[in-house]
Subunit: 105 residues, 2 copies
């Protein structure tokens, strides 16, 4: 996992509209583009652009079926972003631990 790829995932999650889309997808079944575009306060094409950003970051996958396109969360990508933060925290804790040992000497 390159630094750039991780950054792209976070960037994709770093917008209220896209975050709402992701949350809605985690709540229930895979939704098609039209359904997902509702209640976001922006136009269908506007929503489509945001969804495309999620696709580019692989946060979400598209599955065209007939005249509609289903949108599905990519659990693996979410897991990677979580793993990144976990790794940061691990280094952080390690350092705090070392600092504690040093001050206790």
């Amino acid at each position: 996992m390159s630094q750039a790829a991780i950054a792209q995932i976070f960037k994709a999650l770093g917008d209220p509209v896209r975050l709402q889309i992701v949350q809605r997808l985690s709540n229930g079944a895979a939704l098609c583009l039209g359904e997902l575009s509702k209640d976001l306060g922006i136009s269908r094409q506007g929503a489509r652009k945001q969804i495309q950003a999620l696709v580019s970051a692989k946060v979400v996958q598209l599955h065209p079926t007939g005249r509609e396109v289903k949108v599905q969360l990519d659990a693996a990508t979410l897991a990677q972003s979580k793993a990144f933060i976990t790794a940061l925290e691990a280094q952080w804790d390690e350092r705090l631990q070392a600092l504690k040992q040093f001050t206790e000497q």
Copy 2:
């Protein structure tokens, strides 16, 4: 934790330069602005802007001491972003579980 605040955290992490800064801070002790600005491939003032973005998102805290300013990771904010992803995954898994039960009937 508002949706907007979470989005701001992810947005702050969604840039290669800022991600590198965060990583460097997790590796070792708190660094001052000047040190942090080195080896990023951009000017000091450019780096300063990126650090300010991290401050606004509360990913990082500033501690002025004399003529220099120390930069420190905010572990609590990182924990919140991780918690958000964990919650997403939980809902996701719950749904998969429900789906499995349904198909097994």
